[in-house]
Amino acid sequence: MTRHARLLLFLALLPFGLLAASPDGSSIRFQEIGEKVKARFLHHTRIFKGPKADVLGMFTSGGSGVAVGDYDNDGFDDIFLVDSGEGRKHHLLHNNGDMTFTEVTDAAGVSGGNDPLSICADALWFDYDNDGYDDLLVARFGTPLLYHNEHNGKFRDVTKTSGLNKFGNTIAVIAFDYDNDGYLDLMFGNYFKPENLLDLKTPNVLPNDLDNAINGGGVTLWHNTGKGTFVEVTEKAGFGKHTGWTLDIGHGDFNNDGWQDVYLACDYGTDRLFMNNKDGTFREVTEKATGYDTKKGMNVDVADYDNDGLLDIYVTNITDEYMKECNMLWHNNGDGTFTDLSKETGTCSTLWGWAAKFADFDNDGWQDLFVVNGLRSAGQENYIPVLVNMITTPGIDFTNVNNWPSIGNMSWSGHQKKKLFRNLGTQAFKEISAEAGVDNDLDGRGIGLGDFDNDGLIDFVQTNADQPSLLYHNVTQPHGNWVELKLVGTKSNRDAIGARAKLKAGAMTLIREVNGGNGYSSQSTLRLHFGLGATQKIDSLEIRWPSGKVETVSVPINKISRIEEGKGVVK
């Protein structure tokens, strides 16, 4: 029996297994505390000038990124919120350790980037020089900004000497060590082709096809030389032919060979999966692995949602009254192919999806899923009928921004309730956003996961376009036991991005990988979090480092442990 056939048989038997495997009765609950803890900040999308200003504004309203990371190594995850309005400052929020935050943006020197010809869209903490302190990258519709962490709460702009000087309409960025040389490389996901939208030379910048567009910005891959500079290797690595409208990038070791692979979510057409050839190049395997889609890919998150030892992929698309795409939960079949189980698992419809993140919110050993949605909440009039008049005009040139109707004060897939899916552990999820207290209807974009109070429960920041950010404190009771791991590479990259932990406890075998920015417009904590349910004892914990070294370590439950490559548990 093939894996695919076994999977179908398993799904056919699901109704008989649901009760037997029902969760422990805990209820996932969150409290929104952004205002109270000084973590609520209003985002501004860029306002364009000229007759088609609102159309361009709409097409670039995807920013509002969030990056979670412990930049000062005090053991508490901090938050960086991206703004996009001209002259608007970002917000670096220092975690005070008591679930309050202090804005330190100006003192840190990381407020800039929204100049008249650039729009900030995403951000990333990563230790590019392996000095033990996370540096900050701000991705822009423009050239990126790289800030070196000076170890004293201040950052120094090193963009000019970094080699990261190429213009791109970047909406997504990840850091990962694609060649396992011990230094973190960068991949940028670019939405538009490299035309400066704030200084348009041609009106023909929009998608050439709304289901199969090939005139987007693709991706660029930058190799970290280990000397504080980056060199572009896009073509050499095999990504040069991808010209789609990349909205998000996710990485993970999908075939368990110790090398990081890449999934690209693309708006207006086909997502792409690239497998690592282990020699600095990648091969595209989309046709065999998933087939070609025509959906509006918005997000890539990677996790082993069914605890079968293989990393799966979740992609949000658009499923609304006027467009029935369905999201994609790519179940990894382990043979180089993936099967979309979004319908079967109940995770198909999240309306106009943006970021989606897996996390075990109740520590029961199964990773749940939170999804944000909503494009534009404005007046009562709906933009869709107006837009369809344009779309159905015979011979219309979609690429020409002048052909797109103005949106004015109209709404477009706005006022949408967020979706929280509890993983029932049986290839089924239950939507519980209202009872969990996270069913806000803002225009969501990013989700930054982190255990901000180090209590073993995963909290999160939700960013919203043109609206304030939210901070949800996880107050789930009762909840299961847990462990959190802060991995530190020595031969491997210092952030240990790409490292995999495999934990066995009783009947459960759980895997987690450190990722460098998976999920739309957001980076989550670099710590690994495991929910253990009622389990009191970990039978084994194995770390596979990007260097190839495999270590077995022992850690206490309900604690955060720091593990250094080659040294084991150090704290």
Binding site: D209, L210, D211, N212, G269, T294, K295, K296, I318, E321, Y322, M323, K324, E325, N382, I384, P385, V388, I391, T392, P394
Partner: protein, 249 residues
């Protein structure tokens, strides 16, 4: 030597009785039976070129196209056919259906464009000949549009026209049940539930074994909505085979 003569005579009479279109159509059917779709499509196209307004040829051609997934070829063929024969209502009808047939194979936005283009040609067919099939087809097509586009009322108007025509028809035809189903769906989609149930009931009186009418009448509220939404799901292939039209004249 006497025996072959009558056979030859019969053969020559037969071939003489068949038009070129009929011969090519028979060839096409044979090719479909042996799943030789490239030959089938060519023969169907030849048959339609000889008899452009033949609704059966057009319909069977499209069914073969669906099997061969040659949607663009089909659209191109009908584009030329209606250009060469601009007064052929059934050619326009099949041209519209050629766009409908492509919808499940297209992306969500292309689906909208295809559906809208299909409506254009259904309208052209109606303008040339206001037949039951043309009213029913266009009316039913409007129902696939999400409520937000406000096209369901246009569908109801067409389907009411089709209903009038079939009620004036002295003969009861099996395909008339379709108008009862769709008109009820149209009423439901325009928030006229009482009228929807009434027309479905009336249809069931005439077609007591119809499972689609029974299914609708057995459901209410969200269950009915789910059922009709599923029926009108644009991602699912719509049965565009018009066989009933010529088998139940």
């Amino acid at each position: 030597m006497k025996k072959p003569l009558p056979i030859l005579l019969l053969l020559s009479l037969l071939t003489g009785a068949w038009s070129d279109g009929e011969v090519r159509f028979k060839n096409a059917e044979k090719a479909v039976a042996s799943k030789d779709y490239p030959s089938a499509l060519s023969e169907f196209e030849a048959a339609l070129t000889a008899d452009p307004d033949n609704i059966q040829y057009g319909s069977e051609y499209r069914q073969a196209v669906i099997q061969a997934k040659e949607y663009d070829r089909c659209i191109k063929f009908f584009e030329k056919l209606v250009a060469d024969h601009p007064n052929s209502p059934n050619a326009y009808l099949n041209y519209g259906f050629a766009y409908v047939d492509k919808i499940p194979a297209a992306g969500t936005i292309t689906q909208v464009i295809l559906a809208n283009t299909a409506l254009t040609y259904f309208t052209k067919s109606l303008e040339l000949k206001p037949s039951w099939i043309a009213y029913y087809t266009r009316g039913n097509s409007y129902l696939y549009w999400p409520k937000i586009f406000g096209r369901a009322a246009l569908g109801v108007a067409d389907l009411e026209q089709a209903m009038k025509m079939q009620k004036a028809d002295s003969q009861k035809r099996s395909y008339h049940v379709r108008a009862y189903i769709s008109l009820g769906d149209g009423y439901w989609k325009t928030d006229q539930l009482d009228k929807a149930r009434a027309i479905w009931k009336e249809g069931l009186g005439l077609f007591p074994d119809d499972i689609q009418l029974k299914a609708r009448l057995s459901k209410e509220g969200d269950e009915l909505k789910e059922y009709i939404d599923d029926v009108l799901d644009p991602n699912k292939r719509v049965d565009t085979n018009l066989q009933e039209i010529w088998t139940n004249k």
